[in-house]
C-alpha cells in the first residue's frame, strides 16, 4: 500500500508535539484513511500555554515549548532565531524545513496545520514557498511543496524566513548608499 499523504502539524505556544497530537486524536482518526499527521516540536521552552493545564502535566508532557524566542530587550524575534544560543543560530523556518527533510521517505507532504502560534510557523512556511517560486528557485531534493494550509485559532504575523526576511531587507537597502549590490543580488 502506498504511504498516506502527510500533513505537518505545528502546536501552539506553551504546548508540544505530543500534546497537540493528543488534542488532534479524534481528527486524526476521522481522517486516518486519508492522511498521516506528523507533529513537530518547537525549539524553545516556556511555561504552559492556554488549555494545556491541568490535564497535560509537566511530569507527563513537559517541557512546554514555543516557536519564538525574545531578544535582549524582551522583544519577540520575527524569524525565531536565537543568536549564539540554542540551535546554533538557525532560523525557525529553516529549522522546520530541515526537520521535514529529515523525516525522510514517506507520503507526499500535501499540507500543513497549525494551532494558535503554530499558524505563524505555517504562514512562514507558505510565504517562504511562495517567494521561492516567485524568485524562480527550482525545487530542491527533498524540498516540500505544500498544497494547502489549515490554520486553527490563529492570530498575528507569519514567522519570517531567510528568504522572506532578506527580501524585505533587499528593498530597504535599495535606497541605501552602502547597498552591497553584488552580494544581495545573489538572492
Amino acid at each position: 500500500m502506498a504511504p498516506l499523504p502527510r500533513i505537518a502539524c505545528f502546536h501552539g505556544g506553551g504546548s508540544s508535539a505530543a500534546i497537540f497530537a493528543t488534542q488532534c486524536q479524534t481528527l486524526q482518526s476521522q481522517l486516518s484513511s486519508t492522511f498521516e499527521f506528523v507533529f513537530f516540536d518547537a525549539p524553545y521552552e516556556r511555561d504552559a500555554g492556554p488549555g494545556v493545564l491541568p490535564y497535560f502535566t509537566y511530569e507527563k508532557f513537559g517541557p512546554y515549548r514555543t516557536w519564538f524566542c525574545k531578544n535582549e530587550s524582551g522583544q519577540e524575534v520575527p524569524d525565531g532565531r536565537m543568536e549564539g544560543g540554542e540551535g546554533n543560530g538557525e532560523g525557525g523556518i529553516e529549522r522546520v524545513l530541515r526537520l521535514l527533510r529529515e523525516e525522510g521517505e514517506g507520503g507526499e507532504w500535501v499540507g500543513c496545520m497549525g494551532f494558535s502560534q503554530g499558524t505563524r510557523v505555517l504562514g512562514g512556511l507558505l510565504l517562504h514557498q511562495q517567494k521561492r517560486r516567485e524568485m524562480g528557485f527550482p525545487v530542491g531534493e527533498g524540498e516540500v511543496e505544500f498544497r494547502f494550509g489549515v490554520l486553527c485559532m490563529g492570530s498575528f504575523a507569519p514567522m519570517v524566513s531567510d528568504l522572506t526576511g532578506r527580501k524585505s531587507k533587499f528593498l530597504l537597502l535599495r535606497w541605501s548608499p552602502s547597498y552591497e549590490w553584488g552580494y544581495r543580488k545573489s538572492y
Binding site: 486519508t34 500535501v110 496545520m113 514557498q129 489549515v150 485559532m153 492570530s155
Partner: protein, 77 residues
C-alpha cells in the same frame, strides 16, 4: 514585501478555523485579512473557545473542510 511596502498575501490555498468564543477571535480576523489572499482562503467558524474542536459537529466541519481543500488542490502545483 511588495514594492508598495505592504506584505505579500499568501495565495497558497488555506483553510481558517475561527472560534467565536476565542479571546483571539478578532486577532484571527486580522491575521486572515492582513496575510491571506481572500481569493484562496476559506473560513469555518465554530461556537468555541481557544482550542481544537471538541464537539462532534464542530469537528466534522473541520474534517469536511480539510477533505475539501485537499480535493480542490489535487491538481494545483
Amino acid at each position: 514585501m511588495s514594492l508598495s511596502g505592504t506584505p505579500d498575501l499568501i495565495s497558497i490555498p488555506t483553510l481558517h478555523l475561527h472560534g467565536t468564543k476565542d479571546v483571539n477571535y478578532a486577532n484571527g480576523k486580522k491575521q486572515l485579512a492582513a496575510y491571506y489572499d481572500p481569493k484562496t482562503s476559506r473560513l469555518i467558524e465554530i461556537n468555541y473557545h481557544h482550542a481544537m474542536p471538541w464537539f462532534k459537529a464542530d469537528l466534522m466541519k473541520l474534517v469536511d473542510g480539510i477533505e475539501s481543500i485537499y480535493r480542490d488542490t489535487q491538481e494545483i502545483l
